[in-house]
């Protein structure tokens, strides 16, 4: 996608600048952007290393198993078709926990594993099952305890209150997830 958008953005900007006589501004804009990207990356480093470090501790303890247990009622509500497929349910909850803890690198491989387990029991191999639909929608709703990336960026931009967005993010995420889940339940009934 970006292989198409990126050149369009740049070419369009330059042509527009030529027409509107803003070539000088664009020239300066290019080099300012590069300095900004470097500065951002340096400040970004601190928060990112903090979180990947802390979450590595969480990963190596029993915490994830404990949390998996807490998720059981929710999993049963979201995936009624997976009643007997214990391994799929286990992988789905691991994926959800990894998402909640912000372990993106761990969440995706776990999620792919869950998809493969569900695919084994799929009668129509080229079509998503009900459970798969629900699983993907939940993964597109970013359910995360601490929005670390955003906080890192806010800190690097000298925010007076970098973590003040945590609660608003929780509320917005839950609303988005509810809409996604409701819509998916509807699609499961209507689209076969």
């Amino acid at each position: 996608m970006l292989n198409i958008l990126w050149p369009i953005f740049i070419i369009l900007s330059f042509i527009y600048a030529l027409i509107s006589g803003k070539v000088n501004e664009v020239n300066n804009g290019i080099f300012e952007s590069l300095t900004d990207a470097v500065e951002l990356s340096i400040t970004f480093l601190g928060t990112m290393c903090l979180w990947t470090g802390i979450m590595e501790i969480a990963k190596q303890t029993n915490l994830i198993n404990k949390m998996t247990h807490l998720l059981k009622p929710l999993i049963n509500f979201l995936f009624p078709d997976l009643k007997r497929n214990e391994s799929a349910k286990q992988e789905i909850s691991m994926n959800m926990i990894a998402n909640i803890l912000g372990l993106g690198n761990a969440a995706t491989p776990l999620g792919i594993k869950a998809m493969k387990t569900m695919q084994k029991e799929n009668a129509k191999k080229d079509t998503l099952t009900n459970s798969m639909m629900m699983f993907i929608v939940i993964n597109t709703a970013s359910i995360q305890l601490i929005p670390t990336n955003v906080i890192a960026i806010r800190t690097s931009l000298n925010s007076q209150n970098a973590t003040g967005i945590i609660l608003p993010v929780w509320i917005a995420t839950i609303i988005a997830a509810i809409v996604g889940i409701a819509f998916t339940k509807f699609l499961i009934k209507k689209v076969k």
């Binding site: 990356s41 501790i57 945590i166 809409v179």
Partner: protein, 176 residues
């Protein structure tokens, strides 16, 4: 109200860090060594992100300094007014489902230009925190098992994204 929300937001990080470290200690793990190991991963993430950041900042910087963003914003303002989303956020809303690193760069650009603690900055942060790279996620999971028929799942996921964006706007407006 705003104070309570602030307090919960601010307490969340120290509480979570403490709980995780206590848990590691309880299980007699070498928490500092593990922390160092994990920290290296953060370094790799930023290094991997760096070229993308440069590329996107270049494109977004060009769009903005040429004045083309102002043109686009003025065209879509009637629509965004209807949803009560500040029109400066529209480039972010459009890119968010497509590319994670690109939307991150656009978010930074918006916050740099309109202020990180302004209403626009808060909404931008909340949208980034509460939405996902929808297209990418769907593509990864369906292609992993070779599925072609997705039964309209993209619409459900995009509906969730729009709900998240509108909710972010409303919540931040109430708070500020």
């Amino acid at each position: 109200m705003a104070n309570v929300i602030n307090y919960i937001s601010n307490a969340a990080i120290p509480v979570i860090i403490t709980v995780i470290i206590l848990y590691g200690l309880k299980e007699k793990k070498k928490v500092f060594d593990i922390f160092l190991d994990g920290g290296k991963e953060g370094l790799e993430i930023v290094i991997k992100m760096f070229p993308t950041l440069i590329g996107i900042f270049l494109a977004v910087g060009a769009l903005r300094s040429s004045g083309i963003i102002d043109l686009i914003v003025s065209v879509i303002t009637p629509i965004t007014n209807l949803l009560e989303i500040p029109s400066q956020i529209m480039p972010l809303a459009l890119l968010r489902p497509i590319s994670g690193s690109a939307s991150m760069a656009v978010a930074v650009d918006i916050m740099q230009n309109y202020g990180v603690d302004t209403l626009t900055g808060l909404i931008t942060s909340t949208i980034m925190g509460s939405t996902e790279t929808t297209f990418y996620t769907i593509a990864i999971y369906t292609s992993a098992v070779g599925i072609k028929k997705t039964r309209g799942i993209l619409i459900a996921a995009l509906a969730a994204d729009v709900a998240g964006m509108v909710a972010s706007t409303v919540i931040c407006r109430i708070l500020s």
